[in-house]
Symmetry: C2
Subunit: 514 residues, 2 copies
């Protein structure tokens, strides 16, 4: 499998007159026996300390080998048998960071942790952070925040696993292109300006010490490469984790985060695009929106008998808001209950007393004050609905524009992987009802969890995955939607429930009189 | 030829929506077109600055490519056409440093400079410096002295060539193993302790900035690899410069510096050894000894008619001492004039009034006070002669032990390259008379000047030479003389003029009654 870092047990014979090569060369020679004859390089800055450690240990111990793209690199020598070869995988998200600690010898997950991205104090979204990066000291502050966050996570993971943080010997990072720039102290200025150019897509792995990380200073930091400004290492990681590039059949990956990002293809070709379909679906727009967590309304159904709504919450707690999957369920339920029309507008007559005035204008009471966690009703406003309609239209337009571009029909897709919390909680049937996802058998949609993190774990464990990641960058064709006329037309056609062309959604009831 | 550093003229099309890869990846792609399709790596620490320089230059300019062993590395981007691609070659000697500045595009030598090794304040010889390295702060001081010396030379070379010192884009260094350790801040402790082990023989080229050098911080410092404690990069450079490893015929290289170092072989095999034959031959032992320079007696002849000595000096100046070649000429002349016997002892009856008492005991007046530069006679004492006898015996014993080891007769050698000032000034016939060099036709001996510096220049200019240097390290078998019984026997047999076995020197007169 060739993990990113390996241990080699070394037993070298001590030098003598008949075998008097230099200490470091002796170590490299011994290591080569376990590296298909390839002598690992040792950078000058570590030569003296590694050679001295090797001699001090009596020429017996453990060599630590990093595996960067240019070949094995020997970075340390340990006199005592190490307890474990530990590395950290990180999903470096715009709002949240999620990380795991792996034992690279066994592949076992030792610990898991997450935290909010503390860059939020410089701006909730990427755009404002990129602007902040242009202010004096701005990029350094954003970079410092990422490093601080990673160090915090690393310490917590190490604590949970009962090891020293410096015993973490490797790190892989999957982030979007902007987050990757902040991590690597690269200038993100042109990311958000046409023609949207990253400073670097494929970076040589720095050593953790160069970045100021608290893990072992020689630990390689393997950053998943980006394809473009709007297609980052997080998605490359997802493509790896879902095996799109190894599949004979055409499959698709949908990742709804701050953007909706979609990749389709097989082992011969891959095409990707992204668009702003996300916010409403992540609980980021609706006033009562929240991330999928305890107390979030995650499923809503229309009860034809009572004419009312039935909901469930995550953890069964009293409701405090609505998460992305709940929003989709709710909108679908409101359509099926004919409380909204095919344009996504409330029908006051049908809504009745559930429609109230709110600071955001007309709003539907999803959960009355008496049921809610904090004594305030959970409301869903017309403006929230409008956002959902835009998001669902964008999502469908993105998918269909992309599929049309590559000449693939929705029904030709053998699988659609749906990543993240969105994929985990969403009911595909409801998304189909809304006209957000194509009208395919629900089993086509496969939730894959945090595929960015899964991809980051993969590159820690597997050299083939690291090589594949770099090849992917060349292989993926990126379809720019910002200037795409077809996308705009498809977006307009998708701003109805389920769609202007109802023949595309045979499974969805169509109400002529709406 | 593939110099250590190359310039690539880059004209890339600016990014646009249909061609929106990252700036650095665009540059690497453009560079690859001129690098047989290989994209050069860019280390993380330079990624942002190189990408920014590329963009600021409008995607047109000059890429600076280093060529370390692991493949091309892009280190800089220049907006304006550079005036020249300049690098420095250095012979890092124990007593002297000698350096040249080369234009790598044309191969032309732009400047030359030399200076005394300022480490001399820590000890004149390697042994005392290695001991000093073990004292607190000792190694750092020795390392700092080398860096200071190189910076001084680099500034003088740059001044002579009319360029900025930071315009020096590469450096190659040929030094003995101890000097190489001091340069690279490696611990020399075990170099002088059996079994004589260097810390590192083959080092990855550090960047000049890492070492604190004043030349361009990204300049690679290509250090000629060592074979062992007593066979350093200076000799590897000499082997390269003389082409020993590429020759079908068996040839030999003799380099007399602080040690006498000898390599013999051809393209299939190489064997080397070294021994303490040097000091008397470099003017380092005799009280009147001096390096080959103005006023040094460099040639001496016995005038059979007058029974006196005739000498010449370097530069035709009044004599102030005797250099290595003068010492050998003198000893040979004294033998041919029968003023010394075959054991190298003065024959008082023959010496007559030229033999005087001196603070060093009996001494011969080579130049009387009236002729000498500073009004004091140039003397050559019995103790000096004894040193010459030891040196010449050691040299012959080294050569013949080595040749016997590989089963080659002296007359099988098609060429004997003689390096350094010793090779430049020595008259092989006189060395043969003394029994120092084998009795071969004088044309066999080819002076090659500073072959260490020539080898250092070669690795700057030629990638094949750099690869050959690393292969040499594996190819050269080192014969350890410190524990060699045969060497001790041969040494004893060589302590006569020309030799105990006069049949080995048919061209040398033998005086039965001496």
């Amino acid at each position: 499998m060739e993990p990113l870092v390996t241990f080699l047990a070394i037993t070298a014979s001590p030098p003598r007159l008949g075998d008097n090569i230099a200490d470091l060369d002796r170590l490299r020679r011994a290591a080569a026996e376990q590296l298909q004859g390839v002598e690992p390089r040792v950078v000058w800055a570590r030569s003296a300390s590694v050679a001295a450690a090797f001699r001090a240990a009596g020429f017996v111990g453990t060599a630590v080998i990093n595996h960067p793209p240019e070949g094995p690199e020997l970075v340390d020598f340990l006199p005592d048998p190490p307890t474990g070869l530990v590395a950290m995988a990180l999903d470096l998200g715009t709002t949240h960071l999620e990380a795991t600690l792996l034992d690279l010898s066994s592949g076992a997950q030792l610990a898991k942790a997450h935290q909010e991205n503390s860059q939020i104090r410089f701006g909730a979204d990427i755009l404002s952070r990129v602007h902040h990066a242009s202010t004096p000291g701005g990029l350094a502050a954003l970079h410092g925040a990422v490093i601080g966050d990673i160090n915090g996570l690393a310490r917590r993971l190490a604590g949970a696993a009962g090891i020293d943080v410096a015993a973490i010997r490797g790190l892989s990072v999957a982030g979007n292109t902007a987050m990757t720039h902040f991590l690597l102290n690269l200038d993100p200025y042109h990311l958000i300006r046409e023609p949207y150019i990253p400073q670097v897509n494929v970076v040589e792995p720095p050593a953790a010490g160069e970045l100021g990380l608290a893990i072992h200073p020689a630990a390689p930091v393997w950053v998943l490469p980006s394809v473009g400004s709007y297609f980052g290492g997080d998605l490359v990681a997802g493509v790896l984790a879902c095996g799109l590039a190894g599949s004979e059949e055409v499959t698709m990956l949908i990742d709804v985060g701050t953007n909706a990002e979609v990749i389709v293809g097989n082992r011969d070709w891959l095409m990707a695009c992204a668009g702003a379909a996300g916010p409403a679906l992540e609980g980021g727009v609706a006033r009562m929106g929240m991330r999928a967590g305890p107390g979030a309304i995650d499923h809503v159904e229309f009860d034809p008998d009572s004419g009312g709504l039935r909901y469930t919450t995550i953890g069964g707690e009293r409701p405090r808001g609505i998460c992305g999957s709940g929003v989709i369920d709710l909108a679908a339920a409101l359509y099926l209950g004919r409380i909204i029309d095919l344009k996504g507008k409330f029908r006051p007559a049908a809504a009745g007393s559930r429609l109230v005035d709110s600071p955001d204008g007309p709003a539907l009471v999803v959960a009355p004050a008496a049921e809610a966690a904090d004594g305030r009703p959970v409301l869903f406003a017309q403006t929230d609905l409008d956002a959902v309609m835009r998001s669902k239209a964008a999502m469908y337009a993105i998918l269909t524009t992309l599929l049309n571009q590559v000449g693939v029909k929705p029904e030709d897709l053998s699988r659609i992987y749906v990543a993240g919390a969105f994929g985990k909680h969403i009911d595909p049937r409801r998304a189909i009802t809304l006209g957000m996802l194509p009208d395919l058998p629900p089993a086509t949609f496969v939730p894959v969890g945090n595929s960015s993190l899964a991809g980051a774990e993969l590159v820690l464990r597997d050299g083939a995955a690291r090589r594949a990641a770099r090849e992917l960058v060349r292989k993926i064709t990126y379809l720019e939607l910002n200037v795409n006329q077809e996308f705009m037309l498809r977006f307009s056609g998708s701003r109805f429930i389920p769609h202007t062309d109802q023949r595309l959604f045979p499974s969805v009831p169509f109400f002529k009189d709406s």
